[in-house]
Amino acid sequence: MSLYGTQKLLFHLNRDAAVQKRYREELPALLEDYELVAEEREAILAGDIGKLYVLGANGQLLMHFAALLGMPWADYIEAMREGVRRHGPVREGIYAMTTSTDEKVAGV
C-alpha cells in the first residue's frame, strides 16, 4: 500500500534535518523519492493535515508534520476533524476517529 510511502516520508521528515531542508527548498523533487499516489502527493504538497489523516497516516508521525508546519495543537486537532468532514472516515491504519466531528474532547 502506498500509505507506507507517505509514512516513510513523514518519518524521515520528522527526524532528519537534511530532509527538512529539501522539504523547504525542493519539495517536488523530494517527493519523487517516495512511492506515492496522486492524492497523497497533493496532500503533502498542500500540507493538508486533514487529508493525510483520512488517508491513514499514523498520528504519531502526522502530529510532528503539523508541528513542522507551525500548527498549534488546537488547529492540528481541528484540521483532522475537518479532514473527516470533507473526505469521510479514516481509510486505513490504527488512528481512526471514534468521536463526532463537533465534539471537543479535551476542550480544543
Binding site: R15, N58, A67, W73, I77, M80, I94
Partner: protein, 272 residues
C-alpha cells in the same frame, strides 16, 4: 546485584509540552508525583536505569521493525522532537554500553532482541527522565517494545520479555532500576485526543497491582483497540515491568487529564 526498583509512569508529550493548557492543580499533582517517583528511584541507589518505552517512530520504522530492542551505547540524545514543542531542552543522556551488552546477551537466552548502538530518545523516554533524573546524570539503558506498527508482539511475549530482563538483571553486579512508560487507555494524536476509558484503566491497574499474570494477558488487540484505543497497545510496557518485578503494585497517582491525552499514572511495584 539485581533489580532494586520497579515502577511505571505515563509519558505523554503534553505532560511537559502542553503543561500550560492543563488545570494547574491537576498538573501540579501529577508533576509532584513524578518528581516524588524520582526521589524513590534515587533512594534505591541504582547504577543504571532501564526504561521500557513504546516509541513513536523515533528510531524504528516499518522498513525494519523490531518487536523488542535494547540500546547499547555509552550515550544517547533527546528529545528527537522539537524541544519547544515538547518543552524539554535537547540534551545528551549517559548510557552504559558494556552493561547493555551483558544484559542483551543474557536476555537472548530467552527472547530474541534487536540492539542499537544509536538511539534518539523521543517523549516516551524524555518526559519520564525530565522528572525522574532531572540532571540526566544516571546511565540509561533504553528498551523499546513496538506498540505502534502492527503486527504487534503478543502480550504473553511482553511478559516473557520482562521475565527475561529480570533474569538478566540478576546476573549483573550493578544495581538496576526499571521504569516502564506508556499510556493505559488513550487515543492520542487523533481528534479523540483527551478521551480516556477510566473504568478500563482502573481495572487494568488493579490487575497490574495484583500482578495477576492471567488477567494481565487476557486482552486481545481487537478488544484493547475497541475499549482503550491504539494508545492502549502500550500496556505491553506495564506488563513487562510486572513480569520483571514479580511483586505487588502501589498506584500512587491516577487522574485523567484530557489536554495530556491520557489517564496520568504513577505507580511502583515491589520486587520479589
Amino acid at each position: 546485584m539485581s533489580l532494586v526498583f520497579a515502577a511505571v509512569c505515563s509519558h505523554a508529550p503534553g505532560i511537559t509540552g502542553r503543561a500550560h493548557l492543563a488545570d494547574p492543580a491537576r498538573k501540579d499533582a501529577l508533576h509532584g508525583e513524578l518528581y516524588r517517583l524520582g526521589e524513590s528511584l534515587r533512594e534505591a541507589r541504582p547504577d543504571a536505569l532501564i526504561v521500557i518505552a513504546a516509541e513513536h517512530f523515533a528510531n524504528f520504522f516499518m522498513d525494519n521493525m523490531p518487536a523488542y530492542a535494547i540500546g547499547m551505547a555509552d550515550h544517547y540524545e533527546g528529545p528527537i522532537e522539537d524541544p519547544g514543542w515538547l518543552g524539554i531542552a535537547r540534551t545528551r543522556v549517559p548510557g552504559n554500553a558494556a552493561l547493555s551488552q551483558r544484559l542483551i546477551a543474557d536476555v537472548m537466552n530467552d527472547v530474541d532482541v534487536a540492539f542499537a548502538e544509536e538511539w534518539k530518545f523521543d517523549h516516551g523516554i524524555m518526559v519520564p527522565l525530565h522528572f525522574l533524573t532531572p540532571r540526566f546524570d544516571l546511565p540509561v539503558i533504553p528498551v523499546n517494545i513496538n506498540c505502534q506498527g502492527p503486527p504487534l508482539t503478543p502480550l504473553k511475549r511482553a511478559w516473557a520479555f520482562g521475565a527475561a530482563l529480570r533474569r538478566a538483571c540478576d546476573t549483573v553486579p550493578e544495581r538496576i532500576a526499571l521504569v516502564g512508560t506508556g499510556g493505559i487507555s488513550h487515543w492520542p494524536a487523533t481528534p479523540d485526543s483527551g478521551k480516556v476509558n477510566e473504568a478500563w484503566d482502573r481495572d487494568f491497574l488493579d490487575r497490574w497491582a495484583r500482578n495477576d499474570r492471567a488477567a494481565l494477558l487476557d486482552y486481545s488487540d481487537a478488544s484493547t483497540y475497541r475499549d482503550a484505543g491504539q494508545g492502549g497497545f502500550e500496556i505491553r510496557t506495564f506488563i513487562a515491568v510486572a513480569a520483571a518485578a514479580r511483586g505487588r503494585g502501589e498506584i500512587r497517582h491516577y487522574a485523567p487529564i484530557p489536554i495530556f491525552s491520557v489517564g496520568c499514572t504513577v505507580a511502583t511495584m515491589s520486587i520479589e
